[in-house]
Symmetry: C2
Subunit: 337 residues, 2 copies
């Protein structure tokens, strides 16, 4: 491959006060600096759009990683191909997955990337979409934190999202009674008819507490939380003793400038003897290969279905990310460069 | 012992809207029913006053056990001596600890009580005060849930209370840096000078967040929470990654008629990868003997100090319980009959 001298990239221009909008980023051109020892020049092939990306644009002091500085390139998870390697760890042409940039080309530290090998006969975009972030997040949160037992009831919020639909399907594989919440009737039908959820609730037009009560006649043992706010409160009300609440995401709070109150039912942590646990999947990167073996098998044998929602071209990255918050997406949102 | 025919008891008359007051209970006389098979007639020797008692007077549907019905006797943990036994499990004269009543005499189910043997040379009131509820609560919450490691920082709220002072001292035994919060300078001095806490903060006149920041230069690894509300929020701000928050009590919320918001820093469950876990010590009664062996040893070898605040006479039970919420007590509040 010939080594490029310049690259398009999405520059972070304005911290959004609420929703990401068209003035948050702009597409710019930059010169690529020379490659230093231990670095890789990569071509970004596919970018993963994740709800957590919004958090990196804020100034919360308690963010789980460094926020992005104004003027810098937007950051994202990506599937990358090595164009030039100044490291013995990787060679030209190899595929890696990594925290990278919204850019055509990026320079990455060889120690910070992971080799990526798509399972046999699995399209690259599907493999990347399931296995890079969404799959390990669902696997770790559900199986390693919540420890589902057959017959238990699991509620997954934002269940038609990339992580939610996997968490729900893994809960079904664990022989649980699985209920999802989503933002449209079409998504709810998809969850039940295509993915095998036992029930799905459209949070936009249901009385969520009544609907949950009906869908969870034996109460809730595991809450796989992606949303937060009033849905979480309704679930906390219905938790059984010794329930587990996995805090995977709190997307309803990410767009708010100020801190919002925590769950009003927080005292149920005592009343119901709950374990409430948050996690950041990047902490567990070393465990990804073990999880990915199972995920690949479940995709290949059809136990798990997964939909991609791909946008073609780097120029669509900003609108692709915004779609996560409006609920327009259906499945894993990717941008192919 | 001669078998009594009547007994004084505290009748639950009015559900308090906020604080317990003098019209909540009244001291009454009642006839004792005949003893059925499997029952014990006991004389209540010492009653334990616990913050959780307040919860039993409410109507929260999500209470961790049955609330007390109006007109019934007030319930409490107690040290009891068997006056008459209709069970093969226990005999007359034996001491048992149990959930019992605020009454001179009570009839208990033999399956619901536990034999109580004070450690050698330990006064009965001290043994009961440490080992019946407060000690197992502190032990289980700190050691079994939070798993302290040497060098970690532990914050205990309501640290001069019965559970708090034990949790803090067990954390010191675990070689942690221990900071307590309490409601007076005298209590704070007691924590540091007598009990060996590394620092103590008077929450009534300190900026709690600044004071915690100063007292916890390495952040907080374990939060042993007895209070809730704004103190909990300040602690959540300062938690280190992978911190553990043990929800032992939320006393600041128990007197409020309505649900109050949960912690504003709830999103730190993700940002700091926190494990937040509530518990009810009565669930773990089978493990009490194992914990009590350690507690007895620590009291006897002087590693742990414990103060009793005893009221003499059943007629003082109501004021004794109220003292828990005004912060007038110092140490474990008991009522000796």
């Amino acid at each position: 491959m010939t080594s490029p001298s310049h690259s398009q990239f999405w520059r972070f221009d304005n911290r959004p006060e609420a929703n990401i909008n068209d003035s948050t980023f702009s597409l710019q051109q930059r010169e690529l600096p020379p490659l230093e020892e231990g670095q890789l020049l990569v071509k970004n092939l596919i970018l993963s759009m994740d709800a957590t990306n919004r958090l990196w644009l804020g100034e919360r002091e308690e963010l789980y990683m460094e926020p992005i500085s104004l003027g810098d390139s937007m950051r994202g998870f990506g599937l990358c191909q090595i164009v030039k390697s100044n490291s013995r760890l990787y060679q030209e042409g190899q595929l890696v997955s990594s925290l990278t940039e919204w850019a055509e080309y990026s320079i990455l530290d060889a120690n910070a990337v992971q080799a990526f090998v798509a399972p046999k006969d699995m399209p690259l975009d599907l493999a990347f979409g399931v296995m890079s972030i969404a799959g390990p997040t669902a696997y770790h949160g559900l199986l390693n934190i919540a420890h589902p037992r057959p017959g238990e009831t699991v509620v997954v919020t934002a269940a038609s999202g990339a992580v939610g639909c996997l968490a729900g399907q893994i809960a079904k594989l664990s022989r649980c009674h699985v209920v999802g919440t989503a933002g449209s009737d079409a998504k709810c039908r998809y969850l039940v008819e295509e993915l095998g959820f036992d029930a799905a609730i459209n949070y936009r037009d249901a009385n969520i507490e009544d609907a949950l009560r009906q869908a969870c006649p034996n109460g809730i043992d595991i809450q796989f939380e992606n949303v937060g706010g009033s849905i979480l409160d309704s679930c906390l009300k219905l938790m059984n003793n010794n329930g587990r609440v996995v805090i995977c995401g709190l997307i309803s709070m990410y767009n708010s400038a100020q801190n919002v109150p925590g769950p009003y039912m927080f005292h149920n942590s005592i009343m119901k003897r709950l374990k409430i646990e948050g996690f950041v999947i990047l902490d567990h990167a070393a465990e990804f290969p073990a999880m990915q073996r199972y995920l690949a098998q479940w995709i290949q044998d059809g136990s798990i279905k997964f939909k991609l929602h791909s946008h073609q071209g780097i120029e669509h990255a900003s609108t692709a990310l915004q779609s996560l918050y409006t609920g327009e997406n259906n499945g894993k949102v990717l941008v192919k460069l």
